[in-house]
Symmetry: C2
Subunit: 229 residues, 2 copies
DNA sequence: TATAAAAGTTAGGTTAGTCTAACAAAATGT
DNA sequence: ACATTTTGTTAGACTAACCTAACTTTTATA
């Protein structure tokens, strides 16, 4: 059985490779993601290689094996299902669920997590709009665009956010933007890169930093790689 | 914040003292309860004393301080609420919930556990019939009698079991006895101590060992220390 | 292409929680 | 009341996960 720590390493590796569409990642990057020192990662990666969860050669890059990918995906599945539970059954807010799920995700029971999935009626997305991996470790990552990338006057829907820090989520709540909201970009200012969006009949101005952290899909096609324009 | 291990020590201490109505417990007994060696307990108890969770002097007995009692109770509260959740919301059976709750009980969030309590509609008892401590660490331990102790022809209700091993629970299921069942003892055989009980119109013979592990209360008074006979 | 910077490794140390083995204190039983 | 058994302690060692400091390899750049 994997330790708490090993699971966190595999989860981070899934996030840094699969979710970023890259094959491999370096020791330093993984270390800073996990908030430990590179020396610690060096050791741990050797251990994970012994257990066949990663491919690795000294001074090389780290990539996940199939079993490593699966284990990492399972942690993310558990995390996102618990988040959904906390949000939809226990009335926690959008920005509170992440921390709690960090603890709950380490409870190992396939049966528990599958029952939870059923209890929640097989949700496809968590409260942040991220897709929940299936029991087989499959995930449909929608090809997402950020609010910064989309065309003017084209209806889009907010489906996820990139930065899940609670300050960020609280900021979104404060300005009145949330998952599921429909919007159109009515103006993009060349000079200072400010984006004006119309949402729910109101107009708001959004900074480039914020726009880059909000994922949207085309409302018409229901995908990001939209072909309707 | 308490570690996983420290919490388990405090939980065990509550079980071995408060739930047994004794003041204090020895190192060996605690060690065997936790399935570690006495040497390990010796060390750990020193640490818990430093943190003011227990009273202890070298070669003496261990007792809980008020804060130790409270922390231990909170672990038990979490354990029993999670058991109730698994049983009543996720359809786990009586004998499966214990193990899973052993992991879930270590998720620390007062808010989570209070929300869960509310979601479950403030249950008073867990699926094994044990009382759930309040958020303040209070527990009403019903003065329970075992099936071995009650009078003939006096209606009682099964409220809890002492041995929560899954073999025991499965055995109960198999013979068709469960929490909440109403029964009367129709005969107690002096010679071999076999007890005959009538439950749901059927008659069954119960060994002394089994009878000692089943807690009942008087159906009429709704307490064990019943005054109606 | 030589060298500086960045990335990664190794050696040795720390802490929490466990162990075994040897010892010390307390309780028990003639 | 003394010997034996039970109970508890101490010392020394191990593992997992972390650290720092010093070193080595790779990469990038002048």
């Amino acid at each position: 059985m994997l330790s708490f720590t090993e699971e966190n390493y595999l989860k981070a590796l899934v996030q840094l490779t699969i979710f970023e569409s890259v094959e491999e990642v370096g020791v330093n990057k993984l270390a800073s993601n996990l908030e430990v020192k590179p020396a610690t990662v060096s050791d741990m990666v050797r251990k994970l290689k012994e257990k066949s969860f990663v491919n690795y050669e000294k001074y090389g890059k780290i990539s996940l094996t199939e079993s490593g990918r699966l284990e990492g995906m399972m942690v993310i599945r558990r995390h996102r299902l618990w988040e959904t539970f906390l949000y939809s059954k226990l009335d926690f807010s959008w920005d509170e669920v992440h921390e709690l799920a960090e603890e709950l995700e380490h409870v190992h029971s396939k049966k528990l997590i599958n029952r939870l999935d059923e209890f929640l009626d097989f949700p496809a997305f968590d409260p942040h709009g991220d897709a929940i991996p299936s029991a087989e470790g499959e995930i449909k990552i929608p090809f997402r665009k950020t609010l910064a990338e989309i065309d003017l006057n084209h209806r889009h829907k907010v489906i996820a956010v990139n930065d899940i820090s609670s300050e960020f989520l609280q900021y979104l709540d404060r300005i009145g933007l949330g998952i599921g909201d429909e919007l159109v970009v009515s103006n993009k200012e060349e000079f200072d890169e400010l984006t004006t969006v119309e949402v729910g009949g109101k107009s708001m101005v959004i900074s480039p930093k914020l726009a880059e952290n909000i994922y949207v899909i085309c409302s018409k096609c229901n995908k990001a790689k939209c072909d309707c324009n």
